[in-house]
Amino acid sequence: VTKTAKTAAVKTDERFEDQLERLEEIVGRLEDDTVGLEEALDLFEQGMSLAGKCRSRLERVEQRVSKLLEAGTTEEMEIETS
């Protein structure tokens, strides 16, 4: 399940930076008092969807340390950090 979720996240073409910028733009518009209630709800909906995308992008990897081998593959790496 995590594997397919990961692949899906990687396939999102829009860059995180762009998504985040759009999200902040939406928040900015929502801060405007003259925005009507319906529009506010639309903006909220769009914003939440973008925030969800940004969040899942940030959670894409799990903590791991691996070593890059000559062949270009990786293997688990154990390092004493204490």
């Binding site: 860059r15 995180f16 928040v27 899942s56 894409r60 990897v61 691996s66």
Partner: protein, 468 residues
């Protein structure tokens, strides 16, 4: 020897023997001039001072050991032995070692490399790439056994969403530059990382030398992802530092920079999420408050002029006057629609969303909706309080009064309509006064619609009005 007739070869051999026995392992200082290098790598140059010039040669084996570039004008001390170049019969110094004067060979080599690559534009600011917004998959080029790697991992492991790929390389001594450069190339080509740290703990200039080599600088410059250098201590600057997209003071600092960048991005997302919720709530609250105010106005209407006075007071401070009129018609309808849309939201998000996020979001939205009802209630109460604040009583308490024609409820605004003998009712903060109009005064400050009536006279409506 004088009686003998020499062959050229014999003479030169004899001289050569004398030179080699008397002038081997000598040191000569002078200024380098006329440097050229043969295809095989032999270096030819001369040493000169103000008066004389000496031919020198450094065979390829010696030339290769030279850390810096031999340049014309350089003041050096050359060590070697004198021999005769038989084909020309000229003697020359066969150089085994050259040291620049005034600074160490490494220092000079560093300065030369820096100057050369800088002239090439390799350090230019516009070549620097920004850090990725999400530096999550982090490549590290360093020694697998060094303290630098442990230091970096200590920092990076504090963050749950960081993946590290280490490309081990010898970072010191023979072959180090090749290993570092090739590790960089492999990491860059792996497609596994968003950013690369080139790191090494502190050491002498000699220890850090690999990071001053051209091939490492080139590997950094051509790396497909941004490179952060964290080499040596704060005070150490290497060619790699100048070439890297970002120079960190130490390996630990390099790791900290990346974690900070990642946390900043996370913070921005969370902040935006929080503000979305907050702002939506504010819009709903606002709409509810407007509705409450509109409903409240029905009660106000029972008190003569109350709404009128409130409107006047509010005109500059609030949008309420317009909304009072509009919202009583539309707000109820709009709120109902808003609530319906809100109820739809969890479904909408679930349709395109992530299961884990969806659950938490559904919960959040449920809380949000419950919150709206409470907040709307609070908003009504607070708006009512605010309106009360604006009640005419407060205005009257400040010494103003409201005057109407006796028997009417709309406030009197224009003295022009009055005639002598008409009865007025004046509402004060405490009690009312009934008075009769004696005379209307038209002064310059009046609205002037009826300026033709009667000459101006002193005395105000209130002063002259007879009390009941």
């Amino acid at each position: 020897m004088r009686d003998r007739v020499w062959t050229v070869a014999a003479l030169i051999s004899e001289v050569n023997a004398l030179l080699e026995s008397g002038f081997s392992g000598i040191s000569v200082e002078g200024e380098v001039t006329g440097v050229s290098q043969s295809a095989r790598g032999h270096l030819y140059f001369s040493l000169k001072d103000g008066e004389a010039q000496l031919d020198c040669v450094a065979w390829a084996s010696a030339a290769r050991k030279l850390r810096f570039d031999l340049e014309d004008g350089l003041a050096v001390e050359a060590k070697g032995s004198l021999t005769v170049y038989r084909a020309r019969g000229r003697f020359q110094l066969v150089v085994t070692k050259i040291e620049p004067q005034g600074m160490g060979a490494l220092q000079l080599a560093f300065e030369q490399m820096k100057r050369r690559l800088e002239a090439e534009g390799l350090f230019a600011v516009d070549r620097k790439r920004p850090l990725p917004a999400v530096p999550q998959r982090i490549g590290i080029v360093t020694s697998a056994s060094g303290a630098a790697l442990r230091d970096m991992l200590k920092v990076l492991r504090r963050h749950p969403n960081i993946e590290v790929v280490v490309a081990p390389a010898t970072v010191q001594g023979k072959g180090a530059a090749e290993e570092v450069a090739s590790a960089l190339v492999r990491l860059g080509a792996s497609n596994l990382v968003d950013v690369v740290i080139v790191g090494r703990g502190g050491g002498s200039l000699e220890d850090l030398w690999a990071f001053n080599e051209e091939q490492v600088a080139r590997a950094i410059a051509t790396c497909p992802v941004p490179v952060v250098s964290g080499i040596g201590h704060e005070v150490d600057f290497t060619i790699s530092d100048f070439t890297a997209d970002i120079r960190a003071a130490t390996p630990t600092h390099a790791a900290e920079i990346l974690v900070a960048q990642l946390e900043e991005s996370e913070g921005r997302v969370e902040d935006a999420r929080a503000r979305l919720g907050w702002e939506l709530r504010r819009h709903l609250q606002d709409a509810r408050a407007r509705l409450a105010a509109a409903r409240g106005s029905a009660g106000l209407a029972r008190v003569p002029h109350r709404v009128e006075v409130a409107k006047l007071r509010l005109a500059a401070a609030d949008r309420l006057p317009i909304l009072l009129e509009e919202l009583s018609r539309t707000a109820g309808h709009r709120l109902l629609r808003a609530e319906a849309a809100l109820r739809r939201l969890p479904g909408l998000i679930a349709a395109g969303g992530h299961r884990r996020l969806m659950d938490s979001r559904t919960e959040q939205l449920a809380t949000l909706i419950r919150g709206h009802v409470d907040q709307a209630r609070t908003a009504v109460v607070s708006r009512e309080r605010a309106l009360q604040h604006l009640s005419p009583r407060r205005v009257l308490e400040r010494g103003y009064s409201i005057t109407t024609l006796d028997g009417r409820t709309d406030p009197l605004k224009d003295a022009g309509r009055l005639r002598g003998g008409e009865a007025l009712v004046t509402t004060l903060a405490e009690g009312t006064v009934r008075s009769l109009v004696v005379k209307r005064r038209d002064d310059a400050g009046s609205t002037g619609r009826r300026s033709s009536t009667g000459p101006s006279k002193q005395g105000s409506l209130f002063d002259d009005g007879g009390s009941q």
